[in-house]
């Protein structure tokens, strides 16, 4: 049983990575990753929502009549997201003001809803939590990696620490390649990361 759950978690991170493989939740992926720390916080907030909503939905899905299951899921997900939103506003105000509108928008993140509908409503509680954790960590990994690359190229800094002495190429702008902080840079960086991720993933799968 333990082995199966670890497999579920790993599947969420690699084989079915929501941002790099399933290409779900692209809106927050592109919009909140202007720095690594923003990507990380957004990913963790989503992970938390996924675990809670997966757990709750797996527990009560048998009690919900089929025709009202979608409104029920939406209420459950929206409630958890609001809880997280309020907690962050109170206790992590800096990150909260950075992520802004994208915290309440986790409600309509299709990853959360897809996991509720396709996994949690058909599986047991522990499997569903594992699935939420795996998918959430996969999403966090993707967002952090994307934020890391964009921050590094766009602002020459790593997790907020400015790198000094980037002078190896005279033709580079002195305080960052701005396009990587802007929206087009998100698409460019994401495309290369998807290629890289899938190359690595295929290699790993072949070796096993």
């Amino acid at each position: 049983m333990m082995k199966k759950r670890i497999q579920i978690i790993l599947r969420g991170i690699f084989k079915e990575n929501p941002a790099f493989v399933l290409l779900l939740g692209m809106c927050p992926t592109l919009a909140t990753t202007s720095s690594a720390i923003n990507g990380l916080s957004m990913g963790l907030a989503t992970t938390f929502t996924l675990m809670l909503s997966n757990l709750t939905i797996s527990l009560i899905s048998k009690l919900i009549p089929n025709k009202v299951r979608i409104p029920s899921y939406i209420i459950i997900i929206a409630s958890f997201v609001t809880v997280i939103d309020l907690l962050m506003a109170g206790f992590l105000p800096d990150i909260h003001s950075q992520l802004g509108i994208f915290i309440p928008l986790i409600t309509v993140n299709c990853i959360v809803f897809a996991r509720a509908e396709s996994f949690a409503s058909k599986n047991g509680a522990l499997d569903s939590i594992s699935d939420g954790l795996g998918i959430g960590l996969g999403f966090t990994l993707a967002l952090t990696a994307l934020g890391f690359v964009r921050e590094l190229l766009g602002a020459y800094s790593i997790f907020g620490y400015k790198l000094n002495g980037i002078t190896f190429l005279e033709s580079l702008p002195s305080d960052g390649i701005i396009i990587f902080i802007l929206a087009p840079g998100a698409f460019i960086a994401l495309a290369y990361l998807i290629v890289l991720f899938n190359m690595l993933k295929n290699k790993l799968i072949k070796n096993n």
């Binding site: 009202v68 029920s72 206790f91």
Partner: protein, 207 residues
């Protein structure tokens, strides 16, 4: 398998789920209410202390609100040892390149601009975002100027402000926000403090 989708079942299910959700949200709201209020006050006080000399009162307790051009301008008056040190005016403009810009402008009692801080904006990174005080000197040129004899418009339009190169729209929006702050400050605050005559000929004309 799931319960039968009869009308009664559906109504009861949704009712129970919404009841539990609202109870949960109510609980969390109560739990975080004080923390969120404290964060808000801290943010405003930080904004005020960024643009005014040291003060020892709690300016967010005594706010003057003025509805102008479709939004609200807030004036926080700071005192030290019961003496007014200046007013921080939270002002805005809707003409930024990326839309709305919210700023805090600190005025000393004689109307002189002490410092300006940008609270929120959506200007282009690398161009218009140079309105932020930590990024360039554009913002700093306002410090110590009194709008009474310092025209809040860019040079191209006959004012006294050096625009940022490549960001004329943001520069103009910035001036617009400061001018709005000054207008409210002059008309509502300086008048109350009896400084109206020093600043403008308006009262003299009335006499």
């Amino acid at each position: 398998m799931a319960k039968e989708s009869s009308f009664k079942n559906m109504v009861i299910t949704l009712l129970v789920i919404t009841l539990i959700s609202s109870a949960l949200l109510g609980g969390v709201y109560e739990l975080t209410k004080d923390a969120i209020a404290a964060v808000k006050i801290r943010k405003i006080n930080n904004g005020i202390s960024n643009v005014l000399p040291a003060f020892d009162n709690n300016p967010s307790e005594n706010v003057h609100k003025k509805f102008i051009d479709g939004d609200t301008v807030y004036v926080y008056t700071a005192t030290k040892d019961e003496k007014i040190v200046g007013s921080a005016v939270q002002t805005f403009t809707n003409t930024g390149y990326g839309g709305k810009i919210v700023m805090m402008v600190g005025f000393l009692t004689n109307g002189e601009i002490n410092k300006i801080d940008v609270i929120s904006h959506s200007e282009t990174p690398g161009l218009g975002d140079k309105i932020e005080p930590k990024k360039t000197d554009f913002n700093v040129q306002f410090n110590g100027k009194n709008p009474k004899d310092y025209k809040l418009a860019i040079r191209k339009e006959g004012g006294d402000v050096d625009a940022m190169s490549g960001s004329t729209v943001s520069s103009k929006a910035f001036c617009d926000a400061v001018a709005r702050a000054y207008k409210v400050f002059r008309e509502d605050i300086m008048k109350d403090q009896g400084k109206w005559d020093d600043v403008s000929g308006a009262t003299q004309q009335k006499k």
